[in-house]
Amino acid sequence: MVDIPEHLLIKTAEARAKALGISVEQALAEMKGEAEPTTISKEPEVIDVKPIEVKEAPAPAAAVKADIPAEVDFAPETRVTQRLLTVVKAKPIQKPTSEPVDKVNTWPHLMLPEFISLMAMTAFLIFISAILQAPLLEEANPNITPNPAKAPWYFLGLQELLSYWDPQIAGVMIPLIIGVAAFMAIPYIDRNKDNKPSKRKYAIMLWTFFLAGAGTLSLIGILFRGPGWNWTYPWIDGVWFDDLLDWVHFE
């Protein structure tokens, strides 16, 4: 026989003693086979199950019924005994920790739209490359300064700012502090956890102001600045923007 460790035996005996209402020593003796096991004379709970009442078959069925032997009892008067084992409470065993997310397969639901959009981009790119010639002016000459000399278009908003403010502020401090540091710090400054547009009107307003300001400054730099960085009207004086050399023909 397997040697059961003493401490486990005692633990089991305690449980048995508690369940049967006997002493621990008694339970231990019973388990070792030294005493007659205590039995409980508890009557099982009896549930009365009422016999199913069978209604008299309607007349047309009578013919069918005739084939069946008459002795067959359709509703035997039986007494079914059932025991209630346990009651399972109506709550889940596993507790979900996160909300279920509605997901779809990447193939084809994401990859097909992606493929279509990159095909559309390719078509658009080939189309504009076929009709619009990239600018190529005279060979670079450090001795001949064009008037005005303009930066690439995405820096023209800054170049426009340079004409108002000190270059250390407009040319360095604004791009470095606002353009880099402040942009990177946005998620650490905006501690509002909500991402519903109605709950973050202030943030949306700020960004929209930034877009409008940067866009306006860039457009002024691109279209409304001529020789000497003086104000010009594109529809009167023409456009000084060589990126769009073969694009815009106002003159």
Binding site: D102, K103, V104, N105, T106, W107, P108, H109, L110, L112, E114, S117, L118, M121, L125, S129, A130, L132, Q133, A134, P135, L136, L137, E138, E139, A140, N141, P142, I144, T145, P146, A149, K150, A151, P152, Y154, F155, L158, Q159, P167, Q168, G171, V172, F183, M184, I186, P187, D190, N192, D194, N195, K196, P197, R200, A203, I204, W207, L211, D242, D243
Partner: protein
């Protein structure tokens, strides 16, 4: 609506249906396309195979097997992040092609001229490279705005926004260094204006300009410097940051939202 869905399923059922069975049964064909590929013989549209299409392909598995339902709506992202990446791919391909015909020396201008006049598709590829560069700057900026308006930079995605800002700066630097390469009057003076802005940096302004121009003004030494930055150094850096960016998108729980 229901009817359209069935049609869509039928369409993706077997995209290699037109190919001959003898070709698809060959061991060569089977060795190229891994199990689950829609090009393999006997591909059927099942959830299991839909997972394999993504998992068993080195390019596609940039994506997760499943994405949130709202994320596949074109109106949510406008595919701007994907298109930023795609314009970068187009720029890499056209850029490598252009490198065959370009010397970053005093011959640069002549090379661009002969590229446009005497090389097959030279003008088209140069135009594609230039317009795609402009489009990339615009698309990256629009992507940034889209992310802001959706509040997609919020926890746990704060750091991916920071990487995104670095990617925007690298995009601008790539565009700016490429601007000089045609070596015409537009290029040299735009870069001179940009370099002069950098020279206003407090304390180390002169040194910044000297490092950028490899001298006191834009010369052929600047051309070589910008060329190396444009074709090697900056693409190398931006690819590293793009890898981190894409990886973080997935690690931070996929795309943000729904709103």
């Amino acid at each position: 609506m229901k009817n359209e869905k069935i049609k869509f399923r039928d369409r993706v059922k077997d995209i290699s249906a037109g190919l001959g069975d003898s070709l698809k049964e060959s061991s060569l064909w089977g060795s190229i396309f891994r199990p689950g590929s829609p090009f393999r013989k006997g591909y059927s549209d099942s959830p299991r195979n839909r997972s394999y299409v993504v998992m068993n392909n080195v390019l596609y598995h940039l994506h997760p097997v499943k994405v949130k339902r709202h994320a596949v709506r074109l109106s949510y992202t406008l595919c701007l992040g994907g298109l930023s990446f795609f314009t970068f791919i187009v720029l890499t391909i056209t850029g490598i092609w252009l490198m065959f015909y370009f010397r970053p020396t005093e011959m640069a201008y002549v090379d661009i001229q002969s590229l446009q006049t005497s090389i097959a598709f030279g003008s088209l590829v140069r135009n594609m490279h230039r317009w795609a560069a402009h489009i990339m700057v615009i698309v990256v900026f629009l992507h940034m705005s889209r992310v802001f308006y959706h509040g997609a930079y919020k926890a746990p995605r704060e750091f991916n926004w920071v990487i995104g800002v670095i990617l925007l700066l690298l995009t601008l630097l790539l565009s700016f260094t490429g601007y000089l390469l045609p070596w015409d009057q537009l290029a040299i003076w735009a870069v001179t204006v940009g370099g002069n802005m950098a020279s206003y940096t407090p304390v180390i302004g002169a040194q910044v300009k000297f490092a950028l121009f490899a001298g006191l003004e834009a010369t052929e030494a600047t051309l070589l410097r910008f060329y190396v930055l444009h074709v090697l150094f900056l693409p190398f850096i931006i690819v590293i940051f793009m890898a981190i960016h894409f990886w973080r998108v997935r690690k931070d729980g996929g795309i943000s939202g729904p709103l």
